[in-house]
């Protein structure tokens, strides 16, 4: 996922793009074939092409674009498609936790690995992500995904209860405890994991808790303020996307005392309705999409400052 190349090679994990809502990932094998409603594609016809190429299907009745994998595209191609709008929360978390190449980060739970991949991209190669997950099957799935996406070097997945006694301590890994720059919690009872977070954090490091319900936020914020955190701040971010099209927009040729209508341009298609002339103009119009995400969760940020 992190090594972008110009030419598509055998063994590459690529994204087949046939539309915003039609993407899939594919690992290219010499003898492989990809089938979709946009046609069939022999892998060997893809291998050797440039990334970003438009590839026509084997029988020329369709086409797709082949692009490189990113954490964002990967989370779209995951089965749980509910994660894709989560992108903005991920961005906000990484920006506000001040994560960069070299950061040491703790995350719990791992979940689909969507945030983990974004964090790994950002901390690599000097930093590391320690991610903790309670569900064993998710741990396995995540380890597999991270390996396939070439992120396993930067991520340690631990199968553990974030609220348990051991918490986030990995005393077996040198320099882990007390060196964590950022902690992210996505747990049903985040307040129960705050002490465990504190146990691996250093002065000045950041914590973020994501919760869908306001009651969780209330309990978490009280716990944080009692645990030597400052700069406690809860925000909510929602993306609004726009439907933008060059479309025919109908104008009526009604007389008025203020301006002269000028429909002499021959590009306009005219019609008549109820005795009035009308003209269709190509107008570049935009509007927000009607179906939108009304809520993902609240993000509570705080800085651990035990000696301030």
């Amino acid at each position: 996922m992190l090594n972008q190349k110009k030419t598509i090679q055998e063994g590459d994990r690529v994204v087949i793009y046939s539309g915003k809502d039609n993407m899939s990932m594919l690992t290219l094998e010499a003898g492989g074939q990809y089938n979709s409603k946009y046609g069939s594609y022999k892998h060997k016809n893809i291998i050797g092409k440039e990334y970003g190429s438009k590839v026509t299907s084997d029988n020329s009745n369709g086409f797709v674009h082949v692009v490189g994998m990113t954490p964002e595209l990967w989370s779209i191609t995951l089965d749980h498609r509910t994660q894709i709008l989560f992108n903005l929360d991920i961005s906000t978390i990484i920006f506000n936790l001040e994560i960069k190449n070299g950061s040491k980060v703790v995350e719990s739970g791992t979940g689909s690995g969507s945030l983990s991949s974004s964090i790994a991209r950002t901390v690599a190669p000097k930093g590391h992500l320690f991610t903790f997950e309670f569900h064993e099957e998710r741990v396995k799935a995540a380890r597999k995904d991270f390996k396939e996406n070439g992120l396993d070097k930067y991520i340690t997945v631990t199968h553990r209860d974030a609220c348990g006694k051991e918490g986030f301590r990995r005393d077996d890994i040198e320099g882990m405890v007390g060196s964590i720059d950022a902690v992210f919690l996505d747990l049903p009872s985040p307040w129960d994991a705050v002490d465990n977070a504190v146990a691996v954090m250093h002065h000045g490091s950041m914590l973020c808790s994501f919760s869908p319900c306001i009651e969780q936020v209330q309990k978490t914020c009280i716990k944080l303020s009692e645990s030597k955190f400052q700069e406690i701040k809860t925000v909510e971010v929602l993306i609004r996307t726009f439907d933008t099209r060059l479309q025919e927009y109908e104008e009526l040729d009604l007389a008025n005392p203020y301006k002269t209508n000028d429909y002499s341009q021959n590009t306009k298609k005219n019609f008549e309705i109820g005795g009035i002339k009308g003209y269709k103009n190509d107008s570049l119009l935009s509007k927000p999409f009607t179906e939108a995400r009304g809520h993902t969760g609240y993000l509570s940020f705080a800085r651990y400052l035990p000696s301030a």
Partner: protein, 503 residues
């Protein structure tokens, strides 16, 4: 978010092992050293000042020049109180500040509703003159506030909550607290956005975070950025990349205007990833004109070379304070020739945040973005992005395009008083993002087309164009590709339903 501070004295059940670990680190890695850049956050965001720490340095805080020596050796993010008598700083802990607040006066214990509240402002018996006199005579701020409260006839009728709000307001007015913040992409964005958002093109933190994600910024990659944000964007990308990768930072004007890069306090390995160049280089490369006349500043990030067209805001002085030292990319070849070579090698991310109309900048930079690479443009206005979107869409130059805006709200989380904050920043700005593609499998005769909102004419790319891949871009305003035309509405609907079941 604010938290009721009256209960802050509760002891944290932190395991002892941690405390010791933390303690030892505080003084090893986490203290403020001479020579480091710091952001002074004055009165919780009221004002920001960015300085390079030097023993004996005086800087303007409020209306006075304050000696900041006291902060050296103290932990980052410590708070300091201005000592009026000596014009110096004194470290204070959050607990001390809270205690001071609580000890000032006894708060009301009954949490009544506001039925009996006088709607008018607190009736104050002291005149403004008397208060000013106290202040000028160097009276301790706590004493001033206590006197004010004692002379307020309505203070006792307020609820405890209102009383704390009132006290906090007075404390802010009569005492000055300085918090020393580490300069990072986040803290600098916050500071400049509050100071004068126009200087950073109104780039809000959430849009900026989203931009860095959508641009797929990571270490080891090559990025082309064109910005008029005084280096905030370039610096933030450099911060993320942490010394590995290449940032080609195009500037508009006589010299690179990247003074904010100085404020990050980068080590040289990080600085060496930045290659500033005049955007005219791209103009000339595209025209196939002689580029030798463009002399690239070797002292690229020197703030003295600041673009003269920049607004002359009086607050500029603060930024200049530590702009004396020029930052340079000294290890690498920043010559025009080498930058041309790097551009022609291609980049994987294109980021544009300027005050100019973006379409021409986007198209000029387009040849230097690799296919499959990500582009993101920020603008305060939707219209210019709609225009870019339409151009790329109709010419089938990009996939996965999205125009977005962010709706961000902060919350007040308090027992029985939880609600979104009443004030809100309503303008996140807009982002256009997407992935560049080549459509070389379908060469079609290009036609001339005009978009509706501008007077731009799309023409057949000249066949002598050296950029072969770009040659066959198809112009077809009217054909919309099947792939882009599917409304994502239905899919969102499905997703929404899936989601609802889980909650």
């Amino acid at each position: 978010m604010e938290l009721d501070s009256s209960n802050n004295s509760t002891i944290t059940p932190t395991p002892t092992t941690t405390v010791s670990t933390t303690k030892s680190q505080v003084f090893n890695f986490n203290s403020i050293n001479e020579g480091e850049n710091v952001i002074l956050d004055i009165n919780n965001g009221e004002k920001f000042s960015i300085v390079k720490v030097k023993r004996g340095l005086k800087t303007r805080i409020g209306k006075k020049q304050i000696n900041i020596s006291e902060i050296i050796g103290k932990p980052w993010f410590s708070s300091f109180q201005v000592v009026n008598e000596t014009n110096t700083l004194k470290i204070v802990t959050q607990k001390e500040l809270d205690d001071a607040l609580n000890n000032l006066v006894e708060l009301n214990q009954n949490d009544a509703d506001n039925r009996n509240l006088d709607q008018n402002n607190t009736a104050q018996k002291l005149t403004q003159e008397e208060i000013t006199k106290m202040k000028e005579s160097g009276t301790d701020s706590n004493t001033i506030i206590k006197t004010i409260v004692e002379n307020s006839s309505s203070f006792q009728t307020k609820t405890a909550y209102s009383q704390i709000k009132y006290l906090k307001k007075k404390i802010k007015k009569y005492s000055t607290i300085v918090k020393v913040i580490k300069p990072t992409s986040k803290s600098l964005t916050e500071a400049y956005y509050k100071k004068d958002a126009r200087k950073i093109c109104n780039l809000r933190f959430d849009s900026f975070g989203q931009l860095l994600t959508l641009a797929n910024i990571r270490s080891g990659t090559q990025v082309l950025v064109v910005e008029t944000c005084m280096g905030l964007v370039t610096g933030s990308i450099a911060e993320r990349m942490g010394g590995e990768g290449t940032i080609l930072s195009g500037f508009i004007g006589k010299g690179a205007s990247l003074s904010i890069v100085n404020n990050f306090g980068f080590q040289s390995d990080v600085l060496n990833t930045i290659y500033p160049f005049n955007i005219n280089l791209i103009n000339k490369l595209n025209k196939k004109e002689d580029i030798s006349e463009i002399i690239n500043p070797t002292v690229g990030l020197d703030s003295k070379n600041k673009n003269k067209r920049q607004d002359n805001n009086k607050e500029d002085q603060d930024d200049q304070e530590n702009g004396e030292e020029a930052i340079t990319n000294q290890k690498n070849d920043t010559s025009t020739n080498n930058i041309s070579k790097l551009l022609n090698d291609g980049t994987w991310s294109l980021v544009i945040v300027t005050k100019y109309s973006p379409l021409n900048i986007l198209l000029a930079c387009w040849p230097y973005l690799n296919a499959s690479g990500n582009f993101v443009i920020f603008s305060q206005f939707p219209q210019p992005l709609i225009e870019c979107h339409q151009f790329l869409h109709s010419n089938q130059m990009a996939i996965n395009q999205q125009i977005s805006e962010i709706w961000m709200r902060e919350y007040q989380v308090l027992p029985k008083r939880t609600h979104p904050t009443m004030g809100m920043d309503g303008a996140s700005g807009y982002l256009l993002s997407g992935i560049k593609v080549n459509n070389i499998t379908k060469p079609t005769i290009a036609s001339t087309t005009t978009t509706t909102t501008t007077n731009t004419t799309t023409t057949t790319p000249p066949s002598s164009d050296p950029l072969d891949i770009e040659k066959q871009v198809i112009n077809s305003t009217t054909t919309t590709t099947a792939e882009e035309d599917e409304t994502s509405e239905s899919v969102l609907k499905k997703r929404k339903l899936d989601e609802e079941e889980k909650n």
